[in-house]
Amino acid sequence: MFNQKYTSTQTQWCPGCGNFSILAAIVDVMNEMNIPKNEVLFMGGIGQAAKLNQFIPGNGFSGLHGRILPAALGVHAANPELKIIINTGDGDSYGEGGNHLIHTIRRNPDIAHFVHNNQIYGLTTGQPSPTTDVTDGIDGAMNSSIPLSPLNLALACGATFVARGFTGDREQLKEIMKAAIDHKGYALVDILQPCVTFNKVNTFKWYKDRVKPVDHSHNVQDKEAAIKLAGTWGEEIPTGILYQVERPVYTQRRPLLSRGVIPSREEITSKEIEDRLKLFI
């Protein structure tokens, strides 16, 4: 048997990048949760964040920029026993992949999704992303538009787990990650991640000065409160699990999967082939 401990390899990130904290947190979380490596699949699209699965020796799938959610749904439908953990960037999942985000949320598959939200396109060297903070002035960044609140978007689409993390609070991040992985359904974790090279506005300090873990009194089933917290972005930025409820998950809504069948293990028989044709007599 091979080494069952989760580790990381050398990365391709800039020194000081927030992605290191996320990688370290994931490795810790995985070791602490003790899920056999062969039962876990790390998936990503394309971007600095999405490269994360390249730096964990284990099952990995680097798909297309913006398109990892449908690929993950396909894997999940073929073999729901695999635990899927996705890492992508804000450009990947909120820009190119926006439509898949909406509709994956609606399906509520049992997948944990960590978005490294550095509010910038890192790998393509610094264009504004949908979450880039811009003012209402003329073309503050390359293209100013009303910045997207990904967590509000998720809540509007009926997400069952919505959280915000920060690379500067490793312990909280790990807690959130564990809860996301444990959550039955699609769990979106938007992680504030400083990009030291291209985002000179939302620096580590900028985030550090603003983030504030949500009160323990916050009721994670209170959607109105969650919407308010998700939309709070300014002097204060609340972090933590903002919303979590139970709803039927994907596998419960699809007939074959709801019977516990693993499609990837099914084999058709000659009899079935013949019987099907006979229906056309």
Binding site: S62, G74, N79, H103, L256
Partner: protein, 566 residues
């Protein structure tokens, strides 16, 4: 052989009438071939079904009509010229139609009398059966099978009233025992073929003329033990299928040209990550929205070259319903053996037409079996458990495993990668990987299915074609050869990329001329043949108005061609 057309507006119920009539004719022992011609709208416009039947096998449509059932006046005007001299026309007495062969049938009143105003179609069926003197009792059996209890009796009455309303006018050969035959349309043939190929996941976004596949799978998903996913868009559909196949569930997605366009990027992902994939492109005339419910063969070059970069893929254009079944079954075996995307190039004509086929022809799959890979996979695993998913091998095929096994971990990658699936920028690895992938196509070339040959072994003119035009071209050259004591041969390509060339080289050597007949404007197959073989193949007949060519048109085109030559 008899050829009947039922025409009317969308919403007039002609689809149901046609369906019941086809089922009944088959039950009466007739081979039936039918096509659908309809507009891209839910109500109104002009739609029709053509039903060709007889005691002999029939696999193609024809222009000349033995009967015309005109639900509205437009249907009469549009099709009356195709009617044979002694052909019949059935229509409602209220229509302002004047013709010598008119049978005015008050099917609406008769249906009301029968107990259901919507049973007009059954009245018409009764009339048709009576015209040919067919067995009413047997027809009733078929009705019992089709109609649910609450509306059965009214339809049986209607059948009877229609039967009584007209006299026998034509002779029909006796029906055969077709209890070992199935009647199946293209969408069903492709879908059941995929199920035979152990497909477990189908994802799609609705798009004519491929929606019928989605509908079929959705209808059978519970008993067939498959997951059917209606995706938010075609990009999702194809990435879902790739994800599913990467995890070991044989997966397919289906669409038409516009949706296929959106899948292009992901085909490259399947190509470089070597994830098997089956895509059905049911063609319609383009570009863009084009003619959504009509037919064409104009996506050939497009699908062959779909996606940036270079990687092996396969394109198959099945020629009829039987081929559709076997080829979509085979597509999965090819896809998984070679770990490549396989594109099934069908079209609206095939998808929406139906024919009667001996069940044994479907069950006998031996000509379509894929050779077992004679390669001993030694799986190399590193200390972390990651195995050489992209191991260099002589065949180019690397050992394929799926996620979840305790003995190895797997890394798949859309970037260029090492044997272990790790991103690389090494020029050396790049060269090796490009060649490794390319070798797979070389191997595949060794087990291609050569085109179907029809006609004269020593032809003057060799015709080439691909896909759905097979039966019509075959019919045409058989007729021509019968007239002129031979002269034509025909090669019909099913496997079209990579292009099998053995028979082509053999017969083109014997022929004085090689020409193509295609359902597109550019003569795309002719171009591919020029590129691949340097045979100066030029189109002889191209059709691109969205209507499937029939044998008569092809005969006319070939006769013109001959005149031009002489």
């Amino acid at each position: 052989m008899y050829n009947i057309l039922i025409g009317g507006a969308a919403g007039d119920g002609i689809e149901t009438t046609a369906a019941v009539l086809k089922k009944t004719l088959k039950h009466l022992g007739y081979n039936v071939f039918s096509i659908r011609d309809f507009m891209s709208r839910v109500r109104g416009g002009h739609n029709f079904n053509k039903i060709r039947f007889g005691s002999e096998p029939v696999h193609s449509h024809a222009r000349e009509l033995d009967g015309l059932i005109a639900i509205n006046e437009e249907s009469f005007h549009l099709h009356k010229d195709d009617l044979k001299e002694n052909g019949f026309i059935i229509c409602d007495p209220s229509l302002l139609i004047d013709h010598g062969n008119l049978i005015k049938l008050d099917f609406k009143s008769l249906a009301k009398e029968a107990g259901n105003p919507r049973a007009g179609g059954s009245v018409i069926i009764g009339a048709v059966l009576s015209l040919y003197g067919l067995d009413l009792k047997k027809a009733e059996e078929s009705f019992r099978d089709y109609f649910p209890e609450p509306i059965l009796q009214a339809n049986l009455n209607a059948l009877l009233y229609g039967y009584r309303a007209v006299e026998k006018k034509y002779h029909a050969d006796k029906g055969q025992d077709l209890s070992n035959h199935i009647r199946i349309n293209g969408a069903e043939a492709m879908s059941t073929g995929a199920l035979a190929g152990n497909m477990r996941f189908y994802s799609a976004y609705p798009m004519s003329p491929a929606t019928t596949i989605l509908n079929y799978f959705n209808g059978v998903k519970e008993e067939a033990n498959i997951v059917v996913e209606q995706a938010e868009d075609e990009i999702a559909a194809v990435n879902q299928a790739i994800g599913a196949f990467s995890a070991g569930a044989r997966a397919m997605t289906g669409t038409s040209g516009g949706g296929f366009s959106l899948m292009v990027e992901a085909i490259g992902l399947a190509g470089i990550a070597e994830i098997p994939l089956v895509i059905a492109n049911v063609q319609r005339p383009g570009p863009a929205t084009g003619l959504p419910t009509r037919t064409e063969q104009s996506d050939l070059r497009f699908v062959i070259h779909a996606a940036q970069g270079e990687f092996p893929k396969m394109v198959i254009s099945p020629q009829n319903h039987r081929e559709l079944y076997h080829q979509s079954w085979r597509a999965f075996d090819i896809a998984e053996k070679y770990q490549i995307p396989v594109i099934l190039l069908s079209d609206q004509f095939l998808a929406d037409s139906s024919s009667v086929i001996p069940i044994q022809d479907m069950l006998d799959h031996k000509d379509y079996l894929v050779k077992k890979l004679e390669q001993t996979d030694t799986i190399e695993v590193d200390e972390d458990g990651v195995y050489k998913r992209y191991q260099y091998t002589d065949t180019g095929i690397s050992p394929l495993k799926y996620y979840g096994n305790k003995d190895y971990l797997i890394r798949l990658d859309s970037d260029e990668h090492t044997e272990y699936g790790v991103i690389t920028e090494s020029a050396d690895v790049r060269n090796q990987m490009v060649r490794k992938r390319a070798r797979k196509l070389e191997l595949l070339k060794e087990e291609l299915i050569e085109p179907i040959f029809v006609g004269d072994e020593n032809p003057e003119i060799l015709i080439v074609g691909f896909g759905s035009t097979y039966e019509s071209i075959k019919g045409a050259i058989e007729t021509l050869n019968a007239r002129g004591n031979g002269k034509y041969a025909f090669l019909s390509f099913g496997d079209v990329y990579p292009l099998p060339t053995k028979k082509l080289l053999k017969y083109s050597n014997r022929a004085t001329r090689v020409v193509s007949i295609e359902q597109n404007y550019n003569g795309q197959l002719a171009g591919i043949i020029r590129e691949e073989t340097l045979i100066d193949c030029r189109p002889a007949f191209l059709k691109y108005d969205g209507r499937q060519m029939d044998s008569e048109e092809i005969i006319a085109a070939l006769e013109t061609l001959e005149k031009g030559v002489k």
